[in-house]
C-alpha cells in the first residue's frame, strides 16, 4: 500500500484549539488544489469532523467561491456520495456542481480519503418560519427525489441503500427500548429517568405495532422495485440543508445520501416541524404533503408506508437515544423537557394521522 501519510482523527480532546488543522493536512490541501484549474486566494476552515478525519474549507478563487471537502468515510464509500451529487447535477437538480480536476476526475484521493471541490452557492438563506417555508422545503426535496431516480452508482464503490432496511431498523429500536429501560433504572436519580420509564410502555407498544404493520404493508412490494427505481433520499434534510437563493431552492451537504423510499425524508421533516409547533397540525402536514406531491406524486401504497413510519415513535426515540453514550449527561432536565414535549404531541398526533388516512387519496385531499 502507499507509503503516504494517512489522514487520521486529530485533536480529539480539543487541546490544540477548536479549529486546529494539522500542518500535514494543510499541505495535502495545497497539493490537492494543484490538481484544479482555478487559483485559490484564500482558504478558510468552515467545518470540522476532526474526530473522524473530515473537513470543509471555503475557497475564494479566481473562478468564484468553492468548497473543498475531505470526506471522512473510506474512499469506496465516499465515491457513492460524489457520484450521486454528480448525477443529480446532470439531471438538473439544484445541488452544487462538483468541479473536475485538470485530469477530468471528480475527486482526489489523498491520505486515504477522498477530497473534492464543489461550487459554493452564495448567498443562501433559510426559508421563512411559516407554512410557506415548510412547503418550499417539501417541494425542493420532492424535486431532489424525482431527479435522483435512475441513479446507478459506480461499480467499484460501497453502495449505500436503506431501501430494504426498514424492518431491521424498526426491530432495532424495539431492542433499544429495553436498553433505555435498563439504563433509566440504573440511573434512576437523573432528572429524565422517571418520565422516560413511565412513557416507555406507551412507545414500546407503538414501536411493536409499527413494526408489525410495516411487515404486513405494501412496504416489501415497494422496496422490491429496487434502488434505481426509487432513487436517493437525502437522509439529513431540514432547513439547514435546503436553503433559498435568488434562483430557487438549493439542497446541500449530500454526504449521507442513500437509496431509500423518498417519504423517509418527508417523515423526518414533518416530525421536526410538528415538534417545533408543539402539536400536530393537519393543515401543516397536508400542506407540506401536497407541496411535495405536486412535484413527486406520492402513490397510495407509499402513502400508507409513510403513515406507518409516522406512527413509529420516532420523536421519542430521537430525543432519548443519546442516553447510551453518557447517561449522566443525556438524562438531564433538558431531555426531560423534550420527552414531556413529545408526550404532549401524542395528544394531537393520532387524530391527525387518522384524518390523513381518511382524507388522502391519489395525492389530494378528498
Amino acid at each position: 500500500m502507499s507509503e503516504e501519510q494517512q489522514i487520521t482523527p486529530w485533536n480529539i480532546d480539543g487541546a490544540l484549539g477548536e479549529w486546529y488543522v494539522p500542518l500535514y493536512i494543510e499541505n495535502m490541501a495545497d497539493e490537492v488544489l494543484c490538481h484544479y484549474n482555478f487559483t485559490t486566494t484564500t482558504r478558510t476552515v468552515m467545518a470540522l469532523k476532526n474526530e473522524f478525519g473530515g473537513l470543509i474549507w471555503k475557497l475564494e478563487t479566481d473562478d468564484g467561491p468553492k468548497s473543498l471537502k475531505i470526506l471522512h468515510r473510506p474512499p469506496v464509500r465516499s465515491l457513492f456520495s460524489i457520484a450521486a451529487q454528480e448525477y443529480l447535477v446532470k439531471k438538473g437538480a439544484k445541488v452544487p456542481e462538483v468541479i473536475k480536476t485538470k485530469q477530468g476526475e471528480s475527486f482526489v484521493n489523498k491520505g486515504e480519503k477522498l477530497w473534492f471541490v464543489a461550487e459554493w452557492i452564495d448567498p443562501l438563506w433559510q426559508v421563512s418560519d411559516d407554512l410557506n417555508g415548510a412547503k418550499l422545503l417539501s417541494g425542493a426535496i420532492a424535486d431532489f427525489h424525482e431527479r435522483s431516480k435512475g441513479f446507478v452508482p459506480p461499480e467499484r464503490c460501497v453502495k449505500s441503500s436503506r431501501l430494504k432496511r426498514w424492518p431491521k431498523k424498526y426491530a432495532k429500536i424495539i431492542t433499544k427500548m429495553n436498553w433505555f429501560r435498563e439504563i433509566t433504572e440504573l440511573y434512576g436519580e437523573m432528572p429524565a429517568s422517571q418520565v422516560i420509564q413511565e412513557s416507555l410502555p406507551i412507545f414500546e407498544i407503538q414501536a411493536v405495532n409499527a413494526h408489525e404493520k410495516l411487515l404486513s404493508s405494501p412496504y416489501r412490494k415497494l422496496a422490491d422495485r429496487g434502488d434505481k427505481a426509487w432513487g436517493l433520499a437525502h437522509q439529513d434534510y431540514g432547513s439547514s440543508n435546503g436553503q433559498q437563493s435568488s434562483d430557487g431552492m438549493w439542497i446541500i451537504d449530500l454526504d449521507g445520501v442513500a437509496f431509500d423510499l423518498p417519504v423517509r425524508d418527508m417523515r423526518k421533516l414533518i416530525d421536526e416541524y410538528m415538534y417545533n409547533l408543539g402539536y400536530w397540525d393537519l393543515e401543516w402536514v397536508m400542506g407540506m404533503l401536497e407541496a411535495y406531491d405536486e412535484v413527486n406524486p406520492i402513490e397510495d401504497e407509499l402513502f400508507e408506508v409513510l403513515l406507518i413510519d409516522m406512527s413509529h415513535p420516532n420523536l421519542f426515540y430521537k430525543h432519548v437515544k443519546e442516553m447510551v453514550y453518557e447517561p449522566e449527561a443525556f438524562l438531564d432536565a433538558e431531555v426531560k423537557a423534550e420527552v414531556e414535549r413529545v408526550l404532549q404531541l401524542e395528544e394531537t398526533k393520532w387524530a391527525v394521522i387518522a384524518e390523513l388516512r381518511k382524507e388522502w387519496k391519489g395525492g389530494k385531499r378528498r
Binding site: W120, K159, S239, S240, E326
Partner: protein, 537 residues
C-alpha cells in the same frame, strides 16, 4: 503442489490485526509449506509490503476492503500465476471469478461463517461456486448444515475440520507457565484475590456480553469477590463506538460487581487473560458458527459456560468441560451456572483439566494441519489422475479416491485406476463448463451510513478475537439519525453583503449546544461521538 491460499478482503495475513481466519491460516501454513509451495494472497495493509517471502511462504497483498475491488486484484493475480490448487477462505462469491481466471486449477473453499445464506450470495452464484469446488471445508457441523439446507447438492463435498489452538501459548493456571502469567496479570490489575469471570469477543448485540453484566448483578451477595473482565476492542475508542458498546459501558459503570474492560488486546497477548481467569463465558445469542474462544478456554484449562447456539456446543461435553445455557437471553441461567462454578474450585479445576485434555487431543494445530493436508492430498491424487470434480456422485468419488491413494505411488497401477474410474463414471461428471457470464454484480448494503444504528451483524470472520477496526468499522461509527445535525452552509440573510460574511469568517464563532440555528430548533448534536461537522461562521 503449487498452492494458493486466498484470504478475505478484510484483514491481512499474518494476523497483525487479529481475525479468526487469519489466525487459522497462520496456524496451519508453517507445516503445510513443508510439503507444498504456498502463496498467500490477501488484502494489503499500510504496515505490510505488497509482496514478501517469509519462512518460505510467499505473501502477496492486493487492495481490498470491498469485495468487488478485492476480486479484481485476485482475478488479475490468479490469471498471471499458475497454481495446482487454490484454497479460498470464506468467500464463495470469489469462486466463479477465480475459476474464470484459473480454468485448470482445483478449488477448495473453507467456510468460517454462514456466507452461503441468501443475503450473502444469490443462489445462481452459489450454485456455480459449489459446482466448481472439489471440497467445502467447514469449521463446524453447524456451518455445513446451513449450506446443505440451502444447497443439498453440496453435501458430498462438505467436510468439517474443527479449528485449533496454540497449546504452548494458552496454558492453564495450574502449570508453572500459566501460574506465572496469571500472577502477573492479577497483580497488574489488582485482582490477586478475585474470582475472574472472563468474556472475550467482539462487543456486539449478537455476541451478547450485556447479559453477563446483568448476570453479575445477581451474584453480588453470594460472590462479592467476583469480577467480570470483558476483553474486546473499541471500548475506549470514539471512532467506531457503536451504540451497543455505549450501552454496555453505561450498564457496566453501574454494576455492583466490578467490570473490567480491557479494550483491544493484541492477539499475541490475549492468552494472558485466559491464564488469569477462573471461568470463561461465551454469551452468543446468535447462531454462532463456533467461536474460537472455546478452544482457547479449553487450552487454558478454564471451565466454559456457553450458549446452545449454532456450533458452540459441538465442542462441549456438558458437565465435563463446562455448562450450557439454553436461553441466551436469561441472566438468571448464566448466574446459576456461574454461582455453581465460582463456589466449587475443585469442580472448576476438574472441568478445566478435562477441557485441556480435549484441546490437546482434538484441537491442536497438528490435527488441523493433518486434516487439511489430507484434503490437499486427495486433490493431488485427483490432479495426477485427471479426475474431474464430480458434484453429484460424491460417495462414489470418495471410494475411488481411497483406492487411488492406496495405489498412488505405484505408477504401474495408475492406468488401471484411471480405467476403473472411467468405467465407474458412467454418468456425466460436472465438467468445467464454459463460463457463461461474469459474476453477478452484488449490491452491498452497508449498515454503516449515518442514519442506521445497526450494530454490525457478525457475518465476518473477526468474531472471537478482538481486532482493531477495519476501515469499514471505522466508517460505521455512531450511526444515528442525523436529524439534529446542523449542516449545510451557514445561513445568512439575503441582504447580508459579502464583506460581512468575510468578517464573520475571519472571526469564527462556535455554534454552541444551545445555539438555535433556526425555528426547527437545530442545535449541535449532543452526542459527542457523532461524526458531525462543526460549523464555523
Amino acid at each position: 503442489m503449487k498452492v494458493l491460499i486466498i484470504c478475505t478482503e478484510k484483514l491481512p495475513v499474518p494476523p497483525v490485526l487479529g481475525g479468526a481466519i487469519q489466525t487459522y491460516i497462520a496456524g496451519v501454513v508453517p507445516v503445510l509449506k513443508e510439503k507444498h509451495s504456498v502463496t498467500i494472497l490477501g488484502v494489503n495493509d499500510p504496515s505490510l509490503p505488497d509482496e514478501e517471502m517469509i519462512d518460505g511462504i510467499n505473501y502477496v497483498r492486493v487492495p481490498g476492503k470491498l469485495l468487488e475491488i478485492y476480486r479484481d486484484g485476485v482475478k488479475e493475480y490468479v490469471k498471471n500465476n499458475r497454481f495446482d490448487l487454490i484454497h479460498i477462505f470464506n468467500r464463495p462469491r470469489l469462486v466463479p471469478a477465480v475459476r474464470e481466471a484459473a480454468p485448470d486449477a482445483r478449488l477448495i473453499l473453507s467456510m468460517h461463517n454462514d456466507m452461503f445464506k441468501r443475503e450473502k450470495i444469490d443462489s445462481e452464484t452459489a450454485n456455480r461456486a459449489i459446482e466448481e469446488l472439489d471440497k467445502i471445508i467447514t469449521i463446524s457441523d453447524y456451518i455445513g448444515h446451513t449450506i446443505k439446507e440451502l444447497y443439498p447438492q453440496a453435501e458430498a463435498k462438505l467436510q468439517t475440520i474443527y479449528s485449533g489452538v496454540d497449546l504452548d501459548r494458552f496454558v492453564p493456571a495450574y502449570t508453572a507457565k500459566g501460574k506465572k502469567l496469571s500472577r502477573q496479570v492479577r497483580e497488574e490489575h489488582d485482582l490477586t484475590f478475585k474470582k475472574i469471570v472472563l468474556f472475550a469477543g467482539r462487543l456486539s448485540p449478537n455476541k451478547g456480553p450485556d447479559v453477563l453484566v446483568r448476570a453479575m448483578r445477581l451474584l453480588q451477595k453470594e460472590h462479592p469477590d467476583a469480577v467480570l473482565v470483558i476483553v474486546g476492542s473499541k471500548w475506549f475508542s470514539q471512532e467506531g463506538l457503536t451504540d451497543y458498546i455505549a450501552y454496555l459501558r453505561a450498564i457496566a459503570a453501574r454494576s455492583p460487581i466490578p467490570v473490567i474492560t480491557t479494550g483491544f488486546i493484541s492477539p499475541a497477548e490475549i492468552h494472558r487473560w485466559f491464564a488469569a481467569a477462573d471461568v470463561f463465558v461465551c454469551t452468543s445469542r446468535w447462531q454462532e458458527p463456533l467461536a474460537r474462544v472455546h478452544y482457547e478456554a479449553m487450552a487454558a484449562g478454564l471451565p466454559i459456560i456457553t450458549t446452545n447456539r449454532g456450533g458452540n456446543t459441538e465442542v462441549m461435553e456438558e458437565g465435563k468441560n463446562g455448562l450450557i445455557v439454553n436461553n441466551a437471553e436469561d441472566p438468571e441461567e448464566f448466574a446459576r451456572h456461574l454461582s455453581h462454578l465460582l463456589s466449587d474450585s475443585s469442580r472448576r479445576r476438574k472441568m478445566g483439566e478435562y477441557g485441556r485434555m480435549l484441546a490437546e487431543k482434538n484441537y491442536n494445530w497438528n490435527r488441523v494441519v493433518s486434516d487439511i493436508s489430507g484434503v490437499w492430498d486427495e486433490i493431488e491424487v485427483k490432479i495426477n489422475n485427471n479426475i474431474p470434480i464430480t458434484a453429484q456422485y460424491g460417495e462414489k468419488q470418495e471410494l475411488i479416491i481411497t483406492e487411488e491413494i492406496i495405489t498412488f505411488n505405484d505408477s504401474a497401477s495408475e492406468e488401471t485406476v484411471k480405467v476403473e474410474y472411467e468405467e465407474k463414471e458412467l454418468e456425466p461428471a460436472v465438467q468445467f463448463e464454459e463460463k457463461q457470464e461474469l459474476v453477478t454484480e452484488e449490491i452491498i448494503n452497508i449498515n454503516d451510513t449515518a442514519d442506521e444504528e445497526t450494530d454490525k451483524m457478525p457475518t465476518e470472520e473477526k468474531d472471537p478475537v478482538p481486532v482493531v477496526q477495519t476501515a469499514e468499522e471505522a466508517d460505521k461509527s455512531p450511526k444515528e439519525e442525523k436529524d439534529q445535525v446542523p449542516a449545510g452552509q451557514p445561513a445568512e440573510g439575503a441582504e447580508v453583503d459579502s464583506t460581512k460574511i468575510n468578517e464573520e469568517i475571519v472571526k469564527p464563532v462556535k455554534r454552541g449546544k444551545d445555539h438555535v440555528l433556526n425555528r426547527l430548533g437545530k442545535t449541535f448534536p449532543k452526542n459527542p461521538y457523532y461524526p458531525h461537522f462543526k460549523w464555523v461562521r
